[in-house]
């Protein structure tokens, strides 16, 4: 389709869908209404199983099977990204260059790093009590680790970030969620049933399996985000197509104070995008 034709087709489609949505939402109950039958039942059920955060109770108890699918999506898409961003035959790795970082940035990031990690763990652990939980806390913790990249350079991050170990943790978090669910089967009831003692309302140990499932998700999410970012950072910094040097010749980068590895990696990617077509271009298109 030529851009003009596409625009016309799009205009027709958008007009139609806009009309559909307008007619439809007009019949919705008014915004802010008081009738929320499922919501009210969910709050009651949350209180009955002594989970203060009703959203956590929905996610990790009442509709825990949704979360099972959701963590599978996360696990699968991380695996998919590992596959898509793998180092192919026509590519090789270059060592990241050391990089200089401005003093204040370094100091701030190094101070923030442990605080952010701790915050992540806190958010995971208090998932059933206050807003937050495994997904949110896991992302916070994984982000915290990457402050090392901001504070020092990619080599420092690589030293503490064993992709292999984080892959293991990712798989362990996933398997942990699945295995915790079998507790219900062992107790003779349904899969993912909350069979543990419910504890005291409002404490860390309340809610039976909810905090455990939350923790499994926290581990999986943190590890998954680290692995995911590792694949993207590898592509940006380390992986180059064979025979292409990029601008990595000595003397063109690593200038003090400019943060060598990162800009070099960045331009390396841009070169990749602008350069001649690589090998492996299939077909006689």
């Amino acid at each position: 389709m030529s851009p003009r034709t596409r625009l016309w087709v799009l205009a027709c489609g958008v007009a139609g869908v806009a009309a559909l949505l307008a007619v439809t939402v007009w019949r919705l109950p008014p915004f802010g209404g008081a009738r929320h039958p499922y919501g009210e039942r969910a709050v009651e059920a949350a209180l009955a199983s002594r989970v203060a955060n009703a959203v956590a109770s929905v996610n990790f108890d009442q509709r825990a099977f949704d979360t099972l699918g959701e963590q599978a999506i996360l696990f699968g898409s991380v695996l998919g990204t590992v596959v898509v961003l793998r180092q192919t035959r026509d590519e090789r790795r270059v060592e990241p260059e050391p990089a200089g970082v401005a003093g204040p940035v370094r100091r701030y990031a190094l101070i923030a790093l442990p605080v952010v990690l701790l915050t992540g763990v806190y958010v995971v652990a208090h998932g059933q009590l206050s807003p937050g939980g495994g997904f949110q806390g896991g992302v916070v913790a994984a982000t915290g680790l990457h402050l090392l990249y901001v504070a020092v350079d990619y080599r420092a991050l690589k030293r503490v970030r064993s992709v292999h170990l984080f892959t293991l943790a990712d798989a362990a978090g996933e398997a942990g969620y699945l295995l915790l669910g079998t507790g219900g089967l062992l107790a003779g009831t349904a899969y993912l049933t909350d069979v543990l003692p419910l504890g005291t309302f409002g404490t860390l140990a309340s809610g039976g399996t909810v905090p455990l499932l939350n923790a499994a998700i926290g581990v999986e999410v943190a590890a998954a985000v680290v692995v995911l970012l590792a694949r993207f950072l590898d592509q940006a910094i380390e992986i180059v197509t064979s025979g292409e040097e990029g601008d990595r010749a000595p003397g063109t980068d690593g200038a003090p104070g400019t943060g060598g590895a990162r800009p070099a990696g960045g331009t390396g990617r841009a070169d990749g995008a602008d350069g001649p077509h690589r090998t492996g271009r299939g077909g006689a298109g």
Partner: protein, 610 residues
């Protein structure tokens, strides 16, 4: 453990297997990873078959998390092990095993430290499809819909060295995601109206509302169905499918075309009958009209483009679209007989189409090409693959006693004489296209046409060539070109074809499908079995069986297919007709075009339903 308790395991087992494969990916040798993946997939498939065989009386219903509803309202998610869901889960399992066997030590280059990446992805795919077939909850269905989606994008783009592969996977991802979000908007609308998320519960609330359905209910059906129709590749939501199948590794195509596309159709039917078929839903005539119109459009477009392809995998992909159209046309009758016809057709089609893709996979690995013209006559001697293509083409055309012929006959019966013409024509054209390939590639019949490679200078009509995906110059999926056809590849193809044949030969299966269809189309019965209330049983109709007109029409379309193939072989290499250019130009590989067409599709579907 009761049957109900075992239902979640159909999702949990493959996911656990995938987690173990990823964890052990660094130490596990390739063959061990492949063998483990096969074993887990087979165990899951066996469990599905066991549950299917063991059940007696009403369908097992499991409330995951033990959140059983009280007085018809609860907070949990239900899994429903009715025959339709379990049967599809079993089909998924069988195809996954076949695909894994086909890909046995298949890809040469797993990512470093992840030897089990491919089988792990396929296992997660299996879990996603299993969850989608069993769930009794609309939002949960969306979650598994997205799980299937995410994994299938990754699998489609598996061969990242190829420029096409990543492009095809990307357009696939865009179009499916837009569809998924439309579905979620629809779910939001239904939740706002009813305050429920379970199929049965939403249906019950809609029915309880005085005055029946209104614009909101119809709009919700349009939006929810959009995502499912994208998955089902109904025109004009289908653009991702040919691109994805052109680039995806063959075992992945076996899964996409064999069952994932059909799950989209299952989703439409499931949502319609459980949620919208009651007095508070959408009028039956409107749904019939919409499905019929989309079905005819899909079948005709698919068949035409199937005939015009020279890229063999792309040709098979368009034949899947054509058959989706036929399924939609048959389904539009909205009767149990139509559903049992579609079910049998779908089962047999899954076997035949997967076998054909397995055959195409052999061609890629052996010759590094799936270009019909380039391969002309080069397939002589690999008779096993030739047999797969020949029989597969005949089966697609509807040769009795293949299950495709039985399903087609039943669909024709319930759809009426006018639709029968469409069924005969479309199956003849798609079967004929495959037979044309068989004749040219394996028997060397007809002219070679313009050589794909050497004739680049002598290219007649540049604009003709520019609008074509040839299929020459494919990287062999096995890394190196095979010199002989591995038994695993041929064996899985033969087994799948045999399965397609068996569907037409086992009366016990027909009976079971007939009963399944009765229960599947029973709006009140489904709600009763999920919510634990009582209802009158479904109306039982006569079990499906062969009929004389059905066999006759099947033979007629086979004859037509052979004639078409003969004509096609003779005209091989000729220019493709000018009138087809606009249609082919629509398939531009451009995300923007595809999204624009999908928007028109939503508007069109809404217009048809109103």
């Amino acid at each position: 453990m009761t049957a109900a308790q075992a239902l979640p395991l159909l999702v949990v087992l493959p996911l656990t297997g995938a987690a173990l494969l990823v964890a052990a990916g660094r130490w596990l040798p390739r063959y061990a990873a492949d063998a483990f993946g096969c074993a887990v997939a087979a165990a899951t498939a066996a469990l599905a078959c066991l549950l299917l065989a063991a059940r007696s009386g009403s369908a097992p219903v499991e409330w995951v998390g033990g959140r059983r509803p009280v007085h018809g309202s609860g907070v949990g998610i239900s899994l429903v092990g009715d025959r339709a869901g379990l049967g599809l889960a079993a089909l998924v399992g069988v195809l996954v095993v076949a695909a894994l066997v086909h890909s046995w030590r298949f890809f040469d280059e797993p990512p470093s430290g992840q030897n089990g990446a491919f089988p792990a992805l396929v296992l997660i795919f299996q879990a996603g499809m299993g969850g989608f077939t069993l769930t009794g909850d609309l939002f949960n269905a969306f979650v598994f819909f997205e799980l299937m989606g995410v994994i299938s994008y990754a699998l489609t783009g598996y061969r990242v060295e190829e420029a096409r592969a990543v492009q095809g996977a990307l357009t696939f991802g865009f179009l499916n995601s837009v569809g998924g979000y439309a579905t979620l908007l629809g779910i939001g609308l239904l939740y706002a109206r009813t305050g429920e998320l379970g199929f049965a519960q939403i249906g019950a609330r809609l029915d309880a509302r005085p005055g029946g359905g209104d614009a909101l209910v119809t709009g919700a059906l349009v939006l929810v169905a959009t995502g499912l129709l994208v998955k089902a590749a109904a025109v004009p939501f289908h653009f991702w499918l040919p691109d994805a199948h052109t680039v995806a590794p063959s075992p992945v195509c076996m899964l996409l075309s064999g069952v994932m596309v059909q799950l989209g159709l299952y989703g439409v039917a499931r949502v319609y009958w459980t949620v919208f078929a009651g007095p508070g839903g959408v009028p039956e005539q409107a749904v019939q009209r919409a499905l019929l119109a989309l079905g005819v459009l899909t079948a005709v477009t698919g068949a035409l483009l199937c005939w015009l392809q020279r890229h063999i995998k792309r040709l098979l992909a368009f034949s899947t679209i054509a058959h989706t159209g036929l399924f939609l046309v048959a389904l539009s009758a909205l009767t149990p007989d139509a559903v049992s016809g579609v079910a049998l057709y779908l089962l047999a089609h899954a076997g035949v189409k997967a076998a054909l893709f397995a055959g195409a996979g052999v061609l890629v690995s052996r010759f590094g090409s799936v270009d019909e013209r380039e391969l002309h006559g080069r397939g002589r001697g690999i008779w096993g693959v030739a047999a797969v293509f020949g029989l597969g083409g005949l089966a697609l055309a509807g040769l009795p006693p293949f299950g495709t012929a039985l399903g087609k006959a039943l669909c024709e019966e319930s759809a009426g004489p006018a639709a029968s013409v469409l069924f005969v024509a479309v199956s003849a054209v798609t079967g004929g296209a495959v037979l044309r390939v068989t004749g040219g590639v394996f028997l060397g019949l007809g002219g070679r046409g313009a050589p794909a490679d050497g004739g680049r200078a002598a290219r007649a009509g540049r604009e003709q060539q520019a609008e074509e995906t040839s299929g020459a110059g494919e990287e062999p999926e096995t890394g190196v070109r095979l010199t002989r056809v591995p038994d695993t590849m041929l064996g899985s193809a033969a087994a799948l074809l045999a399965g397609g044949l068996a569907v037409g030969c086992v009366p016990a299966l027909w009976r079971a499908v007939g009963e399944t269809a009765g229960a599947f189309t029973d709006h009140a019965g489904y709600a009763a079995s999920v919510l634990g209330t009582t209802a009158t049983g479904p109306v039982l109709s006569a079990p499906p069986h062969w009929s004389v007109p059905g066999v006759g029409l099947g033979l007629l379309s086979v004859v037509l297919a052979l004639a078409a193939a003969a004509g096609g072989v003779r005209a091989a290499g000729g220019r493709r007709p000018r009138w087809s250019l606009p249609l082919r130009r629509l398939h531009s590989g451009h995300v923007g075009d595809y999204v624009a067409c999908a928007m028109v599709g939503i508007a069109l579907f809404a217009l048809l339903l109103w």
